[in-house]
Symmetry: C2
Subunit: 306 residues, 2 copies
């Protein structure tokens, strides 16, 4: 086989109380990528979408990831890559991570799975560096491992897979621009110890809630006293969506990654749908274009078309 199609998932980084360490893969939206082995070395990248992203390998997130992979590939090969982005760049849904994760998972498959998942994360982080200037893995890891992942440490890389109970995820992407680099710059470099203690109590509660399948504990732990109060200011309608979603029965939620997308977790599908309606009402009234998704956690991560 010399051509492969993969579906690379959207991901929700941070999960409210796990800034820079937690992430979760979703079934929708996803990117569609087609990768072919070339006889000669080199990367040829094409986009089958409207976003006019760069196609030079070192400026393209998938390209940068593949270049890192090729450096460790024992024999010289090349790839043709076509990307159909369906996760809008700048949505806060891990669009760049989907591209780089999808590319390296596809390449590894064509090469006979010679690399481990941890290797693939390492390669894909080069794509994140192109996208945001920082080698972070909180979107990459769930895209590659599937499910919910903890990056306990980034150097050295220590990825922990977390199981959880069935959860429905409602996402709204208000079509405003929040750049990851801006969202990062407005954060203070120091935090109050008492707030840090609250935050690590909450992340401990969230991990325990997930592993113990304790929905109520998951809900109580979805609280962010450090990042959300600062970043949510950049997202019109945030407070209303959060309050309304909880009133509609959602367990809780918050900003997806650095925003502007907002996600909410629910135990029941009908609750997730009620949350979607609420989100639609808020952004319709605010006159801001938006997209919504009701989906579930993808425990597969990047999916290879059989």
């Amino acid at each position: 086989m010399s051509t492969i199609k993969v579906y690379a998932p959207a991901t929700v980084a941070n999960l409210v109380c796990g800034f820079d360490v937690l992430g979760m893969a979703l079934h929708r939206p996803d990117d569609l990528m087609t990768l072919s082995l070339r006889d000669e070395p080199g990367l040829v990248i094409q986009h089958a979408d409207e976003y006019q992203l760069p196609v030079e390998p070192e400026k393209n997130v998938a390209g940068a990831a593949l270049l890192a992979l090729l450096e460790e590939t024992p024999h010289p090969v090349g790839f043709d890559l076509t990307i159909e982005k369906r996760i809008k760049p700048g949505s806060g849904l891990g669009s760049s991570a989907a591209s780089s994760a999808g590319a390296v998972v596809a390449a590894n498959h064509l090469l006979g799975n010679i690399f481990s998942k941890e290797d693939l994360v390492r390669f894909a982080m080069n794509g994140e560096k192109v996208a945001s200037g920082v080698k972070h893995a909180d979107n990459i890891a769930p895209a590659i491992y599937g499910g919910i992942t903890l990056i306990r440490s980034i150097f050295p890389l220590d990825i922990v897979q977390l199981s959880g109970p069935p959860l429905y995820v409602t996402v709204v992407h208000p079509q405003i621009e929040v750049r990851t680099s801006d969202a990062r710059q407005i954060l203070r470099k120091e935090v109050q110890l008492k707030n840090a203690i609250k935050q690590w109590g909450n992340i401990a509660g969230l991990v325990a809630g997930l592993l113990k399948h304790d929905y109520a504990l998951i809900g109580r732990s979805l609280e962010d006293v450090i990042i959300e109060p600062v970043r949510s200011i950049l997202i019109p309608g945030f407070d209303e969506v959060k309050k309304g979603s909880k009133e509609a029965g959602a367990l809780g939620g918050g900003i997806s990654g650095s925003g502007p997308s907002i996600f909410m977790l629910s135990q029941e599908e009908r609750t997730a749908q009620a949350v979607e309606q609420l989100m639609q009402q808020v952004y319709t009234r605010l006159g801001i274009e938006f997209r919504t998704y009701v989906t579930t956690i993808s425990y597969e991560g990047v999916r290879i078309e059989k």
Copy 2:
């Protein structure tokens, strides 16, 4: 039954990366307490030990806890309490928590278990306030619930019980004085965000490691980049004990509560014993008196003598 004997366990607060939120109950050392119902209201406290702790109820940690319990007891009663402290005050092993937790568990038993464990934690926190000026629950909760507990939130109180794999605990109590209030004052009120992120990655890893029975992950997560670098300066021999214990095979460990005791976790009993020898060597050479314990986690907490 109008008289009861209880064994109140030593506890290790913080568990390295869970400052102010995690705690663990031990089988040894423990305090022995005898409580009797009195016909008339009032508290009479006696000590059967050498520590000359105050016996006026409102100045005694067990007394303050019992006074809080009596305020919510529907009919007027009184108690005679005799405390034999075997957990040395100021050891960092939850000596005050043992007194207040033991007293309220015993009282509740004599009253026909009319209060919940959460109520008992609430009462016992009044003892902690007498001891250290702060109503904290990270020693109280494991003493009352047993095992390893997470205080996700203190106001409102949210206690999460965490299961874990079998673990051996080695404790050394170098007989130097570190007052909780001093140990608290030397902490900075602000921490760097990047260190806070490391810390919440570690506590998430520790909780996942405990619930997944992943010893290696527990070991990797026992890292504290915020509190330990500051507090360990107060404890001679700390670095040597920590380094030597890991070389001897311990998973990891650190300061117990605010110190000066140090605890180390091991997967095997013989490792825990090797760690004990190492601790003995270090403090013998330093010429500091010490006590050591090799013990296990008490999943019962305060134990009522049948």
